[in-house]
Amino acid sequence: MPRTIRTDLVVIGGGPAGLTAAISAAESGVKNIILIERQSKLGGILSQCIHNGFGLRYFNQELTGPEYAQRFIDELTSFPQIEVKLNTMVIQLGSNHRVVTVNDLEGLVCYQATAIILAMGCRERPRGAINIPGTRPAGIYTAGTIQHLMNIDGYLPGKEAVVLGSGDIGLIMARRLTLEGVRVRAVLELMAYSNGLNRNIVQCLEDYEIPLFLSHTVTKIYGDKRIQGVKAAPVDENHNPILERVFTLLCDTLVLSVGLIPENELSLMAGIGLDPTTKGPLVDSSYQTTVSGIFACGNVVHVHDLVDDVSEESKVTGRAAAAYVLGQKTLMRQVKFKIGRNIRSIVPQSLFIDGQTTIYIRAEYPETDAILKVGKGKARQRVVSPGETIRYLVKPEDVHDYNEFVPVSIEGGESS
């Protein structure tokens, strides 16, 4: 049995979500906070996101990933009640609030925490999850891995690349590779539209004349030892490849940017209920999960397109966890969201009907000139894009007439 240490709050993950949540909890009066991070430095995924575009909302400034993270890392020093454990992995989480960790300085240590905040972020979907046929050579990397290899480790991963997936990470890496002298032959996107921000289409693809093939996919990987090329083809409306139009793209590197999956193995271990669409925990507007006293924020709850939203959300979470630790009970009526037309997911999935809460919505398909309806509330949406989160500030009058379910939908638009 590892030794057990009692503490007020354990935050799992030292990326932007965990950092903000820990600081917010400390500001709200929590006395003992343990912030656990498996890497040797704080910052999470931001440490390898050397490009800019972070902080426009939160700091009103355009920062690179590491700079954004540093703002919070610097702020930590004002909070001696936050103890940081680097190079530490959580290997077990219980619904009884026991957190078992391991590192090479202290070995196995168990924390018995009054409250826990989950901020573990996401992992990338690998090749096997989308079942690309072909051989299994070297040179196939997910975008985040290749980003780490280049931006942290300083390796040159290849010379000629094809990128599958036009989400932001794929686009950013297409540019990054090009700047380092790698020839990016094409970016292929399964959907008829790109999931990434428009600005990234411009500054990552158009700037470098990298062709974008919408409604295309990779149908086969070939090369025995190192990848030698891929077969690509356009897809029909069911996303099935039109094999008569297969063509070859020679390359020695395939970059996969085909989806992020919230990292919820620990959540499952603790018996926390997950939302099958977001693959993250079901949370209420205080970001408490289905297990009392366990909260979650950041990409572990749902994939965000802007880290600024992560910080906003995590501030709320830190405050709520603090209220829990300090025994401040809130007896408020909760309502759940009922998903209607053109809504893929809503986070948080349920709401305390007090004050104002920002909710984060993802649409299913693109539209223009539509109206977002949240209960009695309405907001015009000039452009609806599945790749971009819709933020809506819910006011009590939007929802207080509803007993249990508040309908949310996007109506009256034209498909783009």
Binding site: L56, T64, N151, N198, Q203
Partner: protein
């Protein structure tokens, strides 16, 4: 008439630029920064460049950025110059790594801290 997507912020307004006589008629932007961007994009496009630089004796790369945007056509020559740089540790965020990168009058600055081992 040129249509372009503003890259100043994540909204990505679709901006229309009409060249009338000697003025530019700019529409579609939701904020004044977009108008500035559109004008520059037509006349002299600029970009912020982010990259990494080697740190002597350390296994981790230093992330850097240009302190302002630089002419788009100078990006690759800027990269050539960046590739030659080796910096000593420690490095502080904001530290100037190279002044006046490829004659742009813009500095290359560190965007993270690297401590000495």
């Amino acid at each position: 008439m040129t249509e372009l997507t503003c890259i100043v912020c994540p909204i990505g307004c679709r901006i229309r630029v009409n060249e009338e006589f000697e003025t530019l008629n700019i529409t579609g932007n939701r904020c004044p920064r977009g108008a500035v961007y559109a004008k520059n994009e037509i006349i002299a496009p600029k970009r912020i460049l982010t990259a990494v630089v080697k740190v002597a004796g350390i296994n981790e790369m230093l992330s850097v950025k240009t302190s302002e945007d630089i002419p788009k056509e100078k990006i690759f020559t800027a990269m050539q110059e960046i590739k030659k740089i080796i910096v000593d540790h420690p490095v502080k965020i904001g530290q100037v790594i190279k002044r006046n990168l490829v004659g742009t009058n813009v500095d290359l600055v560190a965007t993270k801290n690297i401590s000495s081992p």
